[in-house]
């Protein structure tokens, strides 16, 4: 197994973001980040004292801990009135900047995914694609509505090229709207369309790459080491097309034909100097010999419960790779058997207990069966991916592939290889992946029901059709928790986890995500065990009488905007609003990140230029998480104000002094173990926070500006939110199977 973070990679990452290992082992106060960032802003200047030393006697908190904030109750998303253009809306901690209906040719046809370039949004639609000028977010202007039908019209950009997925049977090579009635036809397009969009008003259709399963979605990979090509990973979920239509397409098991179109992905190479020559260059078999366990293991709360029970003397058994606590009644029954077998009577002795403990594994094996001795020779594993998210800066991709979540090494873009895989008995269909900014976590979505079904009803389990959050350590994924839209939706609303992206709030992992007619949900998963919602927008059903297709297909952060592709209603643009979960300064700091283009499946690494907004955001976080005492916080804020008002050497000296003081503050911060204990044991204490940070030397030597502290927030009141106690699960298992 390859290490996804080879040494040189790790060194690169440490310069502006903590690697997974440093995050866990090295804990420093968040003040380091602030100090280091300030130093970067001031290094060219001379030092002299410019910081007011006296803090006000009485200091009021400006940023409250999360525990002081709660979501609106009752949830305003429940019971919203229906309507296509006049549905009732619920909005929390967001501002809707604009809602623009589709152009006439696209009304009543499904809007799909989004891509971004400069001030433009490209919105896919089953009828083609739309190009919007969003330089004024309050008033998006349609630049072009290009009719060229194909589902799903998943879109991506790179420089002057636009790539569009075609999968449906009606897509035509000539962009005609008449469909393709024959089962085999040379007019059919299933694969990737390539457009030259150097003139956005006149996209030019320059090439096609046909593929065996068409393209449900695709991923554009720009390898940092290759400036001559981009690569497209093609994902398709429809059946393989006939060999008569596209020669070489075979849909059989690999032992029948090693060239089968199953069990592989396709990699297209697009030469940037000659994109017309784009072609498939490899078909990596990333699923080969994939035999992941049927589960990703228990959630952290379950693991804790098992450990506690083990320490308390309970019998812990392993069933199908999963540890479980043996319920008392079963233990009692087995113990009496042991007593009986040795010819004794009465209550079991300590020796009986020990004997049972020793024999338990074989008893369980007998009772439950063993994983060996497989009778069925069919090759397991997925035949395709739904979506692959590449993260070129860390050389890794997340593949959501039927029943599995895969971690891929993409150092060689033409030959991606599998690092590891997980499965989840609660997941129906792995749909997409999103990494957090430092690549220490990955979130997979389960598009249970394919997006056309209402899977957010009160009665639908919270673990089904949800997100699963994993931490990544040494190339392995460890399951942490599920996150599902917290507001129940009606049976008239198709709703399940769908596309989203990270919002570059420094120091935190915050994501915005589509839930079809469940609307959009913004949540914080900084603590992977305890994700929680911080903002939302939702509309009532499209139709009050029946389920009609609609809702948010994709919503992505792009240069301060949250841009939402509404399937039936058009294009929405939102902005974040400050709240108890997110300060103005944190929002301003996020908005200092500027992208030239964005394909959400080609995840960019966010980098924050040095700015006062960023410094203030870190100060807010220090206050929220009690990283510094209040008088110090107030003094830091005052110093920042003075520096911002000053200029030249006065500004520099103020910042230098502040940086020195903060470094001293950081050196005196509490030991990490203590913080962790407090987090675990502090019942009723609400949120206990530890701010972690890479080594000071790494942090102060940042190329991109300020480093960001990665934080772990442990909410004692939130643990075990989604998890049934293991003992109860075990009891159900045994009562059902014996």
């Amino acid at each position: 197994m390859t290490d996804p973070y080879p040494p040189e990679q790790e060194a690169d990452m440490r310069s502006d973001s903590p690697s997974p290992s440093t995050e866990r082992t090295r804990l420093r106060a968040g003040a380091w980040a602030l100090a280091a960032g300030l130093a970067v802003g001031a290094t060219a200047c001379t030092s002299s004292s410019g910081m007011p030393s006296a803090a006000p006697a009485e200091v009021e908190r400006q940023v409250q801990p999360f525990s002081e904030t709660s979501p609106p109750s009752p949830d305003p998303r429940v019971g919203l009135g229906a309507g296509l253009m006049d549905a009732e809306e619920a909005i929390w901690n967001l501002k809707k900047v604009s809602s623009t209906p589709p152009p006439e040719d696209f009304i009543g046809v499904t809007n799909s995914d989004l891509a971004f370039k400069d001030d433009y949004v490209i919105q896919g639609n089953y009828n083609g694609f739309q190009i919007w000028d969003v330089s004024e977010p309050a008033d998006p202007v349609l630049v072009e509505a290009f009719v060229c039908p194909a589902s799903q019209s998943d879109v991506s950009v790179y420089e002057d090229l636009l790539f569009v997925s075609g999968e449906g049977l009606g897509g035509r090579v000539d962009c005609g709207v008449q469909g393709v009635p024959q089962a085999v036809s040379e007019d059919r397009l299933r694969g990737i369309r390539i457009f030259d969009i150097s003139d956005l008003r006149n996209p030019e259709y320059i090439a096609n790459v046909q593929t065996c399963r068409g393209s449900h979605t695709h991923t554009v990979l720009k390898d940092p080491a290759d400036d001559e090509n981009v690569y497209i990973y093609v994902s398709g979920s429809a059946p393989v097309r006939p060999d008569e239509e596209l020669p070489g397409c075979v849909s059989v098991m690999p032992d029948e034909d090693p060239n089968t179109a199953l069990f592989r992905i396709e990699v297209i190479q697009v030469p940037l100097a000659n994109p017309e020559a784009a072609e498939i260059v490899s078909s990596p078999r990333i699923f080969e010999n994939l035999e992941a366990p049927p589960t990703h293991g228990p959630a952290p709360a379950d693991r804790e419960a098992i450990e506690e029970a083990r320490e308390a003397g309970a019998f812990v058994i392993e069933v199908m790779g999963e540890e479980m606590i043996l319920p008392d009644e079963s233990a009692d029954a087995l113990l009496s058997q042991v007593v009986e077998q040795r010819g004794g009577s009465g209550p079991p002795t300590a020796a009986d207990s020990a004997a049972l403990r020793e024999r338990l594994p074989s008893i369980v094996q007998q009772m439950m069966g063993m994983p060996e001795g497989a009778e069925n020779g069919a090759e397991p594993g997925p035949t395709q991916c739904h979506d692959i998210t590449v993260y070129p800066e860390i050389g890794v991709a997340g593949g959501a592939c039927e029943g599995y979540g895969l971690l891929l090494d993409i150092e060689d873009p033409v030959e991606p290889t599998r690092l590891t895989a997980v499965a989840d008995s609660n997941f129906s269909y792995w749909h997409s992946a999103t990494f957090n900014n430092d690549g220490s976590k990955v979130l997979f979505t389960d598009e249970w029901g394919g997006g056309g079904q209402p899977k957010c009803r009160e009665s639908d389990p919270k673990e089904w059709g949800a997100n699963a959050i994993f931490t990544i350590q040494d190339g392995d994924m460890q399951f942490e928790s599920y996150y599902k839209l917290p507001a129940p939706q009606t049976s008239l609303e198709n709703c399940v986890a769908h596309n989203g992206s990270m919002i570059p709030v420094p120091g935190r992992d915050i994501m915005v995500q589509s839930w079809y007619q469940g609307g959009i949900s913004i949540f914080d998963w900084t603590d992977p065990e305890n994700p929680f919602e911080i903002a939302f927008h939702d509309r009532g059903p499209v139709d009050s009488t029946r389920q009609a297709s609609g809702g948010s297909w994709s919503v992505y952060w792009y240069n301060g905007m949250l841009v939402n592709s509404e399937i039936a209603r058009g294009l929405d643009i939102f902005e974040l609003e400050p709240s108890g979960y997110l300060t103005r300064n944190e929002i301003d700091a996020a908005n200092t990140v500027q992208l030239d283009y964005l394909n959400a499946q080609g995840q960019p690494q966010y980098q924050w230029p040095p700015s006062f907004a960023l410094a203030r955001a870190y100060v807010d976080q220090l206050e929220r998480w009690d990283g510094l005492d209040l008088p110090r916080i107030a003094a830091v804020r005052q110093a920042l104000r003075s520096a911002e008002e000053a200029s030249g050497s006065a500004r520099a000296s103020t910042l230098n002094t502040l940086a020195d003081e903060l470094e001293r503050d950081a050196s005196g911060a509490a030991a990490p173990e203590k913080g962790q204990d407090a987090g675990r044991g502090g019942a009723g204490a609400g949120l206990v926070v530890m701010t972690t940070h890479p080594s000071a030397s790494g942090a102060s030597n940042t190329a991109s500006g300020m480093p960001h502290p990665s934080t772990r927030v442990r909410a004692t009141g939130r643990s075990a939110r989604h998890n049934t106690p293991t003992s109860a699960r075990m009891a159900r298992l045994l009562t059902g199977s014996t």
Binding site: G108, Q182, S251
Partner: protein, 240 residues
């Protein structure tokens, strides 16, 4: 889409015409000065009202429901029967000593396929096709109405005898039979999708294409999962 294009043109044409009535064409023709902004340009940019958008939306949706073929209707009707059987046998799981994994699997199959049955019924109803209805008789899920189907021809359908065997099984024996039969059943559904897409004219309706693709990929994924569960069971105990 000739019908919708036509009405679209009417909407865009009527507005400038009405506006033109007020200004009067004759004076404009005699005026040598640079022409005033073309009223048709202005109205082309004027956004449609919500009511107009909604009317157009309904018209398009209505129009999209005219692209189906006989093969699509047969697929949707057949698949309702197919799903109904999956729901029927999944309902056995809670009372037959099935393992936790099997009960979770069965619960998800029930949830998924019941919703999909509703989707298929709605699809048929929207296209004025006969809509099968589900009835429960004891633990049987019966389908009545709808176009006639040939159950014997439907891949993966279990015989009554197989269902009775499953009903009579308990514990691990039930688990093994359930997995074996459900794999067969799901593989039948995947075959039905493949046959649909191999038929001329089928799957042009986007709702059919998407639904059938989802059924295919969901059930193929579940077959893989069930295969693994089956392989993880002990070799002894015989269930077939």
């Amino acid at each position: 889409m000739p019908r919708s294009k036509c009405s679209l043109m009417i909407v865009t044409l009527l507005v400038p015409l009405l506006a033109g009535c007020g200004t009067g064409g004759a004076t404009q023709a005699e005026d040598p000065a640079p022409p005033p902004p073309d009223p048709s340009d202005e109205s082309a940019e004027a956004p449609l009202s919500d009511a107009e958008i909604e009317a157009l939306y309904r018209e398009r949706v209505e129009e999209s429901r005219t692209r189906f073929t006989e093969a699509d209707v047969r697929f949707m009707t057949d698949m309702i029967h197919h799903h109904a059987q999956a729901v029927e046998i999944s309902r056995f799981a809670p009372d037959r000593g099935a393992s936790r994994q099997i009960r979770t699997l069965a619960a998800r199959i029930i949830n998924a396929q019941q919703d999909e049955i509703e989707t298929m019924r709605r699809w048929l109803e929207d296209r004025d096709q006969p809509v099968p209805e589900l009835h429960e008789e004891g633990d049987r899920v019966m389908v009545r109405g709808g176009a006639p189907v040939d159950m014997g021809e439907m891949p993966g359908m279990l015989s009554r005898e197989q269902i009775e065997r499953l009903k009579a099984a308990r514990g691990r024996e039930f688990d093994r039979l359930f997995l074996t039969f459900m794999i067969e059943h799901h593989e039948g559904a995947v075959t039905m999708v493949r046959e649909l897409f191999g038929t001329d004219g089928a799957g042009q309706d986007e709702d059919v294409f998407r639904f059938a693709s989802d059924v295919q990929v969901d059930q193929a994924t579940e077959v893989d999962r069930m295969q693994q569960m089956l392989e993880a069971m002990p070799p002894s105990g015989g269930g077939r």
